[in-house]
């Protein structure tokens, strides 16, 4: 049975501080959606509201056709995986995994059989009688995962589950989490501050800031087509230039940037969203060349990236970072142009 999770106009606050503002979100049946953002953006608060550890000021939370909003936490039937694993230190691996089954009134034999099976599924057969203190971080996280999965919950939630693991294990575990979630077809909500983790594991990612969702989309869309300056900055567009369309220039739009320099953007490649807009680019999207139609620049410090050279460039609009080909190294002090690549840049509506 797979169901969808719906948050409808949810607001929450700690004391007088509003931490969530009219947040709506739908996680489709069997879908994995990540909440991504810096600490304090409200992602963990959202998860705790769904879990029932916090009560919303307003709004509704539904799981399938069940209204969770006023349901006590222990009656919500949600599998939770915590950052600190939160295993029961006084219970063995098998009893940790069997805990939820015990709460559901399963007999000892049935419980041990089912928990044992799940312990095996997460690759911990042979560790069933160990205590959490005698397990490595990765093994603990597997126990936590098994414990949440064994109750066969309609919703799984993860609160930064991998941030206490080392880099290699993180990659292995996120593949494992995705595999198990897919295999069970469980709807999942995943909280993380790690962009790579969120993008690699999720069907869709919600980028959050100050209690609001800034954009909710597939990772590919977020990465290449951010909807606003916040998301663009978040996914690594390090150049954000305010621009204004000033004239027609044949089949191009002439735009002026701060500092007075102008640039012609051919209509075939670019769609200018408004008269005032933001030009967003990564270093890869600005090509350093000796001549061409681009932003005039004087080259500064050059660094070697392996796949390209990266330059700090002085332009009329300020310092920009751009990449140039390895085949034509250029020297600091030379004048150049920075040619925007329409595939890797985007034009965003100006912030109001």
């Amino acid at each position: 049975m797979t169901v969808s999770l719906t948050l409808d106009g949810v607001s929450a606050s700690y004391g007088k501080t509003r931490v969530l503002e009219d947040l709506s979100l739908e996680v489709g049946a069997g879908e994995l959606v990540s909440l991504l953002g810096a600490s304090g953006c409200g992602k963990t608060t959202t998860l705790r509201l769904v879990a029932g550890f916090l009560a919303p000021d307003a709004g509704r939370i539904r799981l399938g056709d069940r209204d969770l909003t006023r349901l006590p936490a222990h009656a919500r039937d949600i599998g939770l995986v915590f950052q600190t694993y939160a295993l029961f230190p006084h219970l063995t691996v098998l009893d940790n995994v069997g805990f939820g089954l015990k709460q559901r009134g399963l007999g000892r034999a049935a419980r041990r059989a089912k928990a044992g099976e799940m312990v095996e599924r997460v690759g911990l057969s042979g560790f069933a009688d160990r205590y959490p203190a005698n397990l490595s971080g990765g093994q603990r996280q597997r126990v936590a995962l098994a414990r949440a999965l064994v109750i066969d919950p309609p919703l799984l939630m993860f609160d930064e589950p991998l941030s206490n693991l080392d880099a290699k294990l993180r990659v292995d575990m996120r593949v494992e989490i995705r595999r198990l979630q897919r295999a069970n077809g469980t709807t999942a909500l995943y909280v993380t501050h790690d962009q790579e983790e969120a993008f690699s594991i999720s069907d869709r990612v919600a980028i959050m800031d100050r209690g609001r969702i800034m954009q909710l989309d597939a990772p590919e869309v977020l990465y290449s087509r951010p909807a606003n300056a916040f998301v663009a900055d978040f996914v690594g567009f390090d150049t954000l230039l305010p621009m204004r369309a000033v004239a027609e220039a044949g089949d191009a739009v002439r735009v002026r940037m701060e500092g007075g320099a102008t640039l012609d953007l051919p209509r075939s490649d670019w769609t200018v969203p408004a008269q005032d807009f933001l030009f967003a680019a990564r270093a890869d999207g600005l090509l350093v060349a000796r001549e061409g139609a681009g932003i005039p620049a004087r080259l500064g410090l050059r660094t070697y990236l392996g796949r390209a050279y990266q330059y700090r460039c002085e332009t009329p609009a300020g310092e920009l970072i751009a990449n140039g080909p390895l085949s034509q190294p250029m020297e600091p002090g030379e004048t150049a142009v920075l040619i925007p690549n329409p595939e890797q840049c985007c034009l965003l509506p100006a912030e109001t």
């Binding site: 879990a51 029932g52 550890f53 006590p72 936490a73 222990h74 009656a75 919500r76 039937d77 949600i78 599998g79 939770l80 915590f82 950052q83 600190t84 939160a86 295993l87 029961f88 230190p89 006084h90 805990f99 939820g100 709460q103 559901r104 936590a144 414990r147 949440a148 109750i151």
Partner: protein, 262 residues
């Protein structure tokens, strides 16, 4: 490489040990002395003063009172102290900070004052039975130990473990008993021991609250000393020490004294 230790340091350390252990040795010696007055070094060896301690009915009676007071007072104090410590650890960010200090007040107020205040307000004010007043007094006396030691245990406890239990379908009240309590067991036992011993050895509160017919062992010891200055006093002291040492040793064996130091 062996570190050279300055002889003066060795001498100083020896003096500290002498200072700490000397009185205990003297009392132990005096309790064995075959004289009718306290003598050290003991003149002749006998166990009759220990026998005497159990033969004097006042000592027998007050031993029972002291042990039952220490047990019940400690349990009463834990019944208040554990929920208080839990609330303060769990809702640390939501509760005013002075609350933690309120529970330590009985340590800060001189015990004499506490005893006197209780006598005025409870014993004479409410006219409660002596034993009940003593019980309240002792529970209050040991409450700071209970709150602090259990609190130290709870400070190490990851409350997401409790949330994990709740998310798996365990109601909160049950999660406290099945998940929280087993994991702060050491702290609870340590608190019990500390409180028990403190209550057992207390003089300054009890002296105000004891009355006709009901007394505690240390108070009886004082009363006895005013009339007889015989080695029975020493033997009772040795017995009290013995109980304390045995309890400490048991804790050390099962949990390690680190629980007390924490």
């Amino acid at each position: 490489m062996r570190r050279r230790i300055h002889p003066a340091l060795v001498g100083f350390a020896a003096l500290v040990f002498l200072f700490l252990l000397g009185p205990l040795v003297i009392i132990l010696g005096a309790s064995l002395s075959n004289t009718t007055y306290l003598a050290f070094p003991p003149e002749g060896l006998t166990l009759r003063w220990f026998e005497n301690a159990f033969e004097i009915s006042a000592f027998r009676r007050t031993m029972v009172t002291s042990f039952s007071l220490a047990t019940l007072g400690t349990l009463l104090s834990l019944a208040i102290g554990i929920p208080a410590a839990y609330a303060m650890a769990r809702y640390r960010w939501h509760l005013p900070r002075f609350l933690g200090n309120v529970f330590v007040l009985p340590v800060l107020v001189p015990e004499i004052v506490l005893g006197f205040a209780l006598m005025k307000s409870v014993a004479t004010g409410l006219d409660t039975p002596i034993y009940t007043t003593l019980l309240v007094g002792h529970a209050l006396l040991v409450l700071p130990y209970c709150v602090r030691v259990v609190g130290a245990s709870l400070a190490q406890f990851d409350f997401s473990v409790e949330e994990a239990a709740v998310s798996l379908g365990c109601p909160r009240w049950r999660a406290f008993f099945t998940v929280v309590l087993p994991n702060i067991r050491g702290g609870v036992i340590a608190a019990f021991v500390l409180a028990f011993i403190t209550s057992l050895n207390d003089v300054s509160i009890s002296i105000f609250l004891t009355g006709p017919g009901v007394s505690t062992l240390p108070i009886q010891l004082l009363a006895h000393m005013e009339q007889f200055f015989d080695p029975t006093i020493a033997s009772v002291s040795v017995l009290l020490m013995f109980v304390t040492v045995v309890v400490m040793a048991l804790v050390e064996r099962t949990l390690g004294l680190t629980f007390l130091a924490r």
